[in-house]
């Protein structure tokens, strides 16, 4: 009797698993043929898997600060190296790790750039566990991330955002809104707190990279609202601990004009600002490679 019951439960779970796998498959197929409005966050991954295998030299992980400040075209022009930005709005560390693993599997990477603002996201312990659980679950059952695919069958406004190797250009990306720089990067010895969760995931990425001979570059994109000396101090120490390079474009003189180079009053850069950061990133890359 007990054996029959367990067999019945097992059959039920197996049936459910197969149905969810089938739904996942269908949803991915729909998403592959739909536009970005429907794809939402999945768009980054879906675009990336279309890139030819082993055709990239490096990837950049991070939030909007990453995908609005690093233009792979500029880097390629200056260094000849092909990059791709795997950025998501407010990218969570668990998502960054998943995207890194994906990139590592599909590409023969030499460099991984990590925009570090995502390390300072305030997440509760429960949220951190949930983030990791969702990423793990999505590996087995993608439907948890692609469940909105059915929306493709409904009329919707299409996104007019342009993406070039993960660098995002929105409608008004070339416009500028001057930033108020009062208090920006004020000197202090204090350090911004870093959660164990962020530290653990970053360490994991760095370890994996070291094992495979991939160079890791931590960097902070210029941002009046998100950049701070506290974060700078924390990241400098962390980079030393991990034995990787850290570049803070908030403190480096790369010619950012906060009256002209930001499109939203100091949080994100416009296309002119992004060109400056990308060029500086490329130069640093060359210097680091030359040092080796």
């Amino acid at each position: 009797m007990k054996k029959t019951r367990w067999r019945s439960i097992l059959c039920f779970v197996l049936g459910l698993f197969l149905i969810l796998e089938a739904l996942s498959f269908v949803s991915i197929v729909i998403l592959m043929h739909s536009d970005r409005t429907i794809q939402k966050r999945n768009a980054t991954e879906l675009d990336f898997v279309r890139v030819r295998r082993n055709s990239l030299d490096g990837v950049v992980l991070g939030s909007s600060l990453a995908y609005m400040s690093i233009d792979p075209e500029v880097i390629e022009k200056e260094t000849g190296e092909k990059f791709y930005v795997l950025g998501l709005p407010e990218e969570k560390m668990a998502e960054a790790y998943h995207l890194f693993r994906l990139a590592d599997r599909r590409q023969n990477l030499k460099v991984v750039g990590i925009e570090c603002d995502m390390l300072f996201q305030e997440r509760s312990k429960a949220q951190e566990i949930q983030d990791v659980a969702i990423e793990v679950c999505a590996q087995i059952l993608p439907i948890v991330k692609t469940h909105d695919a059915w929306k493709a069958f409904f009329p919707h406004e299409k996104s007019d955002e342009i993406r070039k190797n993960g660098f995002r250009i929105e409608k008004n990306s070339s416009e500028s809104v001057p930033a108020d720089t009062a208090g920006y990067m004020e000197e202090t010895d204090k350090c911004a707190p870093l959660s164990d969760y962020s530290r653990t995931i970053l360490t994991k990425i760095c370890k994996q990279c070291r094992k495979e001979g991939i160079k890791v570059i931590l960097f902070s994109a210029p941002s009046v609202t998100d950049g701070s000396m506290e974060k700078h101090n924390t990241l400098s120490r962390l980079a030393d601990e991990l034995g990787v390079a850290y570049i803070d474009f908030n403190t480096e003189d790369i010619g950012i004009d906060w009256n002209k180079d930001t499109y939203d009053g100091g949080e994100h850069l416009n296309t002119d600002g992004a060109a400056k950061v990308s060029s500086a990133f490329a130069k640093k890359l060359e210097t680091l490679e030359a040092d080796e």
Partner: protein, 485 residues
Amino acid sequence: MEYNKPLYLCAFLPMAALFYHYAPQKRKRIVLLLADLIFYTLLAGKLTAVFLLTCLFTWWMERRIGSASGRGKTAWFLAGIIVLFGTLFAFRFLRLFPKSPTGISYYTLMAAACLIEVFWGRLSPMGLCDTFLFLAFFPQVLQGPIVRPQDTLEQMKNPSAVRRSDIRAGLLRILWGLFKKLAIADRLNMVVGMLFREYTNYHGAWIPFAAVCCTLQLYMDFSGMIDVTIGSAQLFGITLPENFRQPFLSEDAGEFWRRWHITLGVWLKTYVYYPIVTSKRVLRLMKSAKKKHGKYAAQLLVSFLALTPVWLFNGVWHGPHLNYILYGVYYLVMILLNEALKPAKTAFYRRTGFRREGAFFKVFRIVRTLIIVVTGELFFRAKGTRAGLFMIAQTFRDFDLSELTLTNLHTFGLDTADYAVILFGTILVFAYDLMREHGFDVNTWLSGKKRAVRWALYYAAVALVLVFGAYGTGYLAVDMIYANF
């Protein structure tokens, strides 16, 4: 770790249920007690101390009340009630501390019920473990149902083996609740949030729309999460009382409150309304009023005397805002008005010869009640009394139906597909409500069906939640509305 979060649904609840299921009969209570403690600590952190102190205090007070007699008994009882409600008042109204302990409004009422029952002699003082189990049962500690000791205590004291039918029914109920919450309520949150936050920017036609949406959201959220609560309890073989019984099929405001947040209504009826109407003073007053002004006036007077504290309590319980109190007064007026008009209505049906139970008048009464309810919810949800009044006035001042276009609806951050889910989801929920009103019970129906049919329904329920739920990217996780009260 609220009931709609994956951590609760995929980790805590199944683990707690499994441990409970496989624990020996004697240890089941301990497993439940530990699960309650872990759950509450994970949610409330340091404030767990307040909750534990409340449990300890309730247990101690029950013993004091139980062992005392005469005036001493009354003194202990009053002291207990004052401390319990004083704590609630200090946290919720005076805001002496930055955060309130999770579920304080709910467990205070349950703790008070224990003291009242012991005071009335209907309940023997409970043991410390029983008191804790009763107050801390984790599926209900966040948002009720507000149970009385006689509802669940015996089930917790003597846990029985959990039947497979309970597990099946519980899981199905959880999925149904999640569908209401994730597919409908959380989508509506974007519309409701925007309309109530920026109400001054919207034409009058949007106000009734906002009121309907917020009523729907509140129902789908609260009843959905109560479904999860009741379903979770079923996994432990515990039957919690229902909190909703098809409220939108009510024919008057009084009936609505007998179908909506039923356990709060029952608590108020048992511990506030009945003690007043059966008190010697009120009975004496009724007698003299009957003599002087007749039965009708006496009944109205007693209703007024007993219902006023009930509705003021109801309003105040929701929080320290004037619009909550006025919300209570609003229902008081509606219910008294209904009472007052009863003879006139009876006369109307008698003179015209119309049947009160005829379909037309039944639908008319339901629609009328819906209008009363939706107006009340508008006031309840508004950002303060002034905002509520402004919104109601705006409806009559600047009403332009042509504003309600699909293009304008898209400005709330939802697309056509989202509205389609809201619409079809609502139709599905109301169709099921209608079936339940006519005695349909899905579990009874399923029990007579072949395994293939049963499984198909379970699979469909999981798929519905997973595919149409507003969770993950592009959606904002919405907290349980009633967990904030």
